[in-house]
Every structure is written in C-alpha cells, then in structure tokens.
C-alpha cells in the first residue's frame, strides 16, 4: 500500500478521495456545485466567517461539549475483562448540543454559507428527523423558509420529530416514492433542488453527496475532534489509543477522526449498523457493499449485481442508509481506519448499559459505537484510552427502544 504523507490532504481539487467522491450530479446542478465550492473557499479565507461560526457554536449550540470520563462504564466493562485489562473510556458528549446531536454543528456552518450565497430558501433530507430538526432550527434562527423531505415511512415512525420541525416553522414534505425512507427523501430533495437552483440551498446532513459537501460537512464536524484532542491532552497528557464512532453516512465519525488522522499512534474504529445481521438485512455499506455511484458521489453502496440500490435496515433510523461518505470508503481502502458492524440487538444492550452505568440515555446511533467499545475495551490494557463519540441523545428513541424491548408506553 502506498502510504501518503498526510491522510488529511484530500479531497483533491476535483473532489476525489482516491477513487471515491466526485461530482456525479445532473448538469443542472453542476454550476451550483461549482459556485458552492468557490463560496466555501472564500469563506475559509474569511476571518469574519470563522468568527461568526465560532460565536454561534459557543453561544447557540453550547460548545465545547465536555469530554467525560465514563468511570462506571469503564468499571462495568473491566468486571468481565482479564485482570489488568479494560481500557479507560471517555465519551465526547455531543449529545449535549442544542437539538441533542452533532447535526447542528454542520447546519450552522451550511446556513452561514447559504446566507453568503444569497440563497433565500433552505431544503434538507432527513431520516430519523435529527438532521431535519437541526436544519429547521437554524432556518428559524436565520429567518429562512425551510422545507424538509422525509420518507413517508419515517414520517409515521418519527412523529415527535415531525412535530418539532413543524413547531420550528418548517414545511414537511412526506416522500411516498420508492422505499419511502432516507434515500428516497434525498432523491426528492435533489429533485426539488434541480427545480429551484436559483434561490435554494440544500443543507446535506452527512459527509456525503457531491463535492464539496463531503469536505465541508467534515470540516464543520471536525470541531468534535479538535476539541476532543485538546480535552484529552488536558485530562491525560497524551492522545487516546482508540477513537470509536458510529457510521451511517459518517459525519460524526469523520468529525471525530479527521483531526487525528496524522497521529500514527491513534487507532480508529468506525461502527456500521449490522441490523438483523450482516447475512440478513443491514445498513453496513463497507462490510456488505461494493463501490458504486449514488447521490452525487462514488462510494461503497448496498446494491445488487445490476447496481440497483438495496434497502438498508437498522433499528437506528439515523444509520438506515445504503451508502456512506466517500472519505470513509477511502480510509477503509487505504487501511487508516478500521470498520466493524454492530447488530440491533447489541446496540440495544449497549443503550441500556449506558443508561444504567452512567445515567445517560444515548441515541441508538452512538449505542452502536458503545457496543463496539464494550467489545474492544476488554481486549485493551487498563492504561489505554478510548474516546467514543456520544453523538446524540436518546429521547427521540425511547419509543423504538420500548417497542424492541416489548414494553408498551
């Protein structure tokens, strides 16, 4: 394998991460994508942009989020480990952000770009509704009309978030085409965008889509990793041995990982959703998919032999997507990040473990990361350190969890 000098230098100037990424969009969108890239470059060079972003992250989102030593979780995991084993587990608490997840970090950044570009209308896709809520939140904050596309099945499953978005003034467009879930919501958002390029900004929720989205979403989410690095150095005087994060599209994971990619002693583990099991229905594009082109980028996809996109399944609606951000595909191929997958059942166990040991109700997405932590911490010496991204809180998931546990609420 040809090891690059830096793992942080991509995408290249055509938007590719090796063979992944790119700009696979209809011609109607190309000029807009190019102008978004120009505007993003200008924003990157503009100190006022960075200052406003920082201000909003501090005072509106509530950053920095704490890095918390999960002492009782660590002890619980050590109880079933060999003597001297069981790494110290820290949680990066992005569930404490305004709106309850990491999604808002990116939405704030993108709406500032939208305003710079003079766009007057916001659209977004959402699965579980977390990105939709975060988008509706920033749209309200900036006084822009906002339309959220959501699969009809998800609208039914996620009524509390649908109501939240409506309270925030967003229009919900229920998508009944295709499989009526996240990928269809994204198709419909793209269709709307093509018809409204003149005034509409599309806030994509994960580090995927056509270039420059994977790059700019990553950059906006990298605040997670930058803070974590500073915080772990302050707490432990050294870098962690392992970073762990859940992956649907992969924005919270790339946000945690990216600032550490050139620290050779820091290992990283991305956790996909294995759903009912990798041999059954799941959402693990890297573990069970192959490279293809969807939603503007080349990346690993769940697909059949003819390139038709397969239905993903995960108990966590936020991981229920048949693709993954292109940078993860590249990091997997080049071997810098390890990827694993966790089933619905194991995620539910980890969900309950964190509730009971730490008094924190995690979202089902980071419960996948916690399940992987539970698995690997025992194999690591006690003096080693894990930082896991607690990217969302579980309030939105209590109905799903109750149903899965056979409890009627």
């Amino acid at each position: 394998m040809n090891v690059p000098n830096s793992f942080r230098a991509l995408p290249d100037d055509t938007g590719h991460f090796g063979e992944f990424g790119g700009r696979y969009v209809a011609e109607t969108l190309m000029p807009l994508i190019l102008s978004l890239e120009r505007e993003y470059r200008a924003a990157q060079a503009d100190r006022a942009f960075a200052e406003e972003l920082d201000y909003l992250l501090n005072h509106y989102v509530g950053r920095p989020s704490p890095l918390y030593y999960a002492e009782r979780l660590t002890e619980a995991l050590r109880a079933s480990a060999e003597p001297g084993m069981g790494a110290k587990v820290y949680l990066k608490r992005d569930e404490l952000n305004h709106t309850g997840a990491h999604k808002i970090n990116n939405c704030i950044g993108q709406i500032l770009l939208a305003r710079r570009m003079g766009k007057t209308r916001i659209i977004a896709e959402t699965g579980a509704g977390q990105h939709g809520v975060a988008t509706a939140t920033v749209a309200a904050r900036f006084g822009l009309p906002c339309t959220i596309f959501m699969g009809a099945k998800d609208v039914e499953r996620q009524q509390p978030n649908v109501f939240r978005m409506k309270l925030l003034g967003a229009e919900i467009r229920s998508v009944s085409s295709g499989a009526q879930t996240l990928k269809d919501a994204m198709n419909e958002a793209l269709r709307d965008w093509v018809a409204n390029v003149h005034d509409t900004f599309y806030i994509i929720g994960t580090a995927a889509g056509p270039h420059p989205y994977p790059e700019l979403v990553r950059d906006f989410q990298s605040v997670i990793g930058r803070e974590a690095k500073e915080q772990i150095l302050a707490a432990e005087g050294r870098l962690p041995d392992l970073l762990v994060a859940a992956i649907g599209g992969g924005s919270n994971a790339i946000g945690l990982f990216h600032p550490f990619l050139d620290d050779p002693d820091v290992r990283m583990l991305g956790v996909e959703a294995a759903g009912h099991g990798l041999d059954k229905q799941h959402a693990a594009s890297l573990a069970g998919g192959s490279p293809g082109v969807l939603h503007g980028n080349r990346t690993y996809l769940l697909q059949d032999e003819d390139g038709q996109i397969a239905e993903a399944h995960s108990i966590s609606a936020g991981l229920d997507y048949p693709g993954i951000g292109p940078e993860h595909s590249w990091l997997k191929e080049i071997g810098r990040v390890d990827y694993t997958a966790v089933t619905d059942t194991d995620a539910l166990d980890a969900f309950q473990l964190l509730c009971r040991t730490e008094g924190i109700i995690p979202a089902l997405e980071p419960s996948h990361a916690l399940a992987a932590v539970a698995r690997v911490a025992k194999e690591m010496p006690a003096e080693q350190i894990i930082v896991a991204n607690l990217c969302g809180r579980g309030d939105k998931d209590i109905f799903t969890v109750a149903h899965a546990l056979g409890v009627a609420i």
Binding site: G22, Y24, E27, M30, N187, V194, V197, L294, D306, G307
Partner: protein, 274 residues
Amino acid sequence: MSRLAETFARTRGEGRAALVTFVTGGDPVPAATPAILDALVDGGADVIELGMPFTDPMADGPAIQLANLRSLGAGTTTAKLLEIAHDFRARHPSVPLVLMGYANPMLRRGAEWFAAACAEAGIDGIICVDVPPEEDAVMGPALRAQGIDFVRLATPTTDEARLPAVLEGASGFLYYVSVAGITGLQQATQGSIEGAVARIRAATDLPIAVGFGVRTPNQAAAVARVADGVVVGSAIVEAVAAAGARGEPPADAVRSIVKGLSAAVRSARQDQAA
C-alpha cells in the same frame, strides 16, 4: 458515419427536426418492450431512447419514477435490457438506439464491460444523467473506444463560460434540457428555448435536441421549428401506464401518440413557411 449522425443528416436534409422518443425499458414488463419499440418506429420516431431502469432516478418526475419501479418490479435486469436492444437492432438495422439512465447500473460491471456490451447489442449512444463532463473519465473513454456516442446534456444553468466544457467530448447530438427541473413537468417558454438553441448552435455543429416537458403535438411542433430534434418521454411513458391500467397492450397507445407527434414535427416548418 454513425447511425445518429446519418439520421440527423437525413432529417436535416428533409427540412425537419428528428423526433426522439423515450420509453423506460422493461415497463410495464420486459416482454412488452419489443412491441413498444416497434410501435415507436412505426409511429414515426427517428431516434429511440431506451431508459435503463434504476431504483433511484433522481432527475425524473413521477411518471418515469413509477415506470422505473414497474420495470424493476417485473424483473428487468441489465442482461434482459441488452437482449431487448440486441433484438431491436436485428429488426431495425438503421434506427439509432440510445440507452439513457444513471451511472450506477451502467458502471456496475465496469465501464469497459458496459461499453463492449452496448457495442455488441448495437446501441449507438449513451445518455448518463449523473455523469457531468467533470466525471467524464469514469465512462467517456470506454464508450469512445467502442465508437459509442456519449451524448451530453446542457441546461438553462449551463452558461456560456461552461458550454465549451459540456461540448468537449460530446458526440451524437447535444441534448438541451429546456427546464431546470425534473422530467415530465413544466415546459419552458418558446422564447427561452429559441435563445438557448441559438446560443448552443453558435458553439457547436452537433445536432441539438430539446426535451423535458414536451408533451403535445403542438408543443413538439413549436420546438421542431427551431431545434434539430424534439425529445418526448413522459407523455409516452404515461400512455404506457394508462394502457396497462386499462389492461390493453401498450404498443397501440404508443403508436397512436407517436403518430400525432411525428405528423406535427414533420409539418412544423411547412406551416411556418406557409
């Protein structure tokens, strides 16, 4: 000379635009497609666009989305679609056949495989909605090596600065998507179409076909007065769906609608002269 070039040269010689018709391959069932394609030719279509079904047709409106799902639901595979194309070529040696669809099904087995399979099936050109000039390398070289035209799309958002990039490496014809939007919904104003065609004509010798939102003979005639080709898709796809819903063979409905369009396209410039 390629079949596409020959056809556009011929229609130009006849003082008229070419009628380019689209149907989704395998809709409503793969077995129905050969008769539908024959009906297109019989009705007077000059160029056939055969839609390659995809689960996620991001650039298509409701009519073609549903056609894609019907086709896939009926078991249409890439192999089946290529077989349909191959048999069409045997029945119609000179009618250009263009495969239109999305990158993922086309690239699934590799661009070289795809280009060779298309050449083998007698396919003349490819329209790939989500491969813009910036990503040409993923498919363009393989198609050109097989002598297959890679038809590019220009849109109302393609400005003068960008047009040369779209035209570079384009062949067969230039497909002008006349509205910023998805297939089958609103139609562009005649003025905007005329302006765009004039602008593109100044930059290329390629024939210019105009599509998106062209549904009726009157609309087709208006476009045919200024463009080298008129593309009609959703209206025909809807006729297929409606016939299917009535339990009738779709080919008859298709022949009838295409006859009307063809007559309008053929007489468009005579009406103008008169």
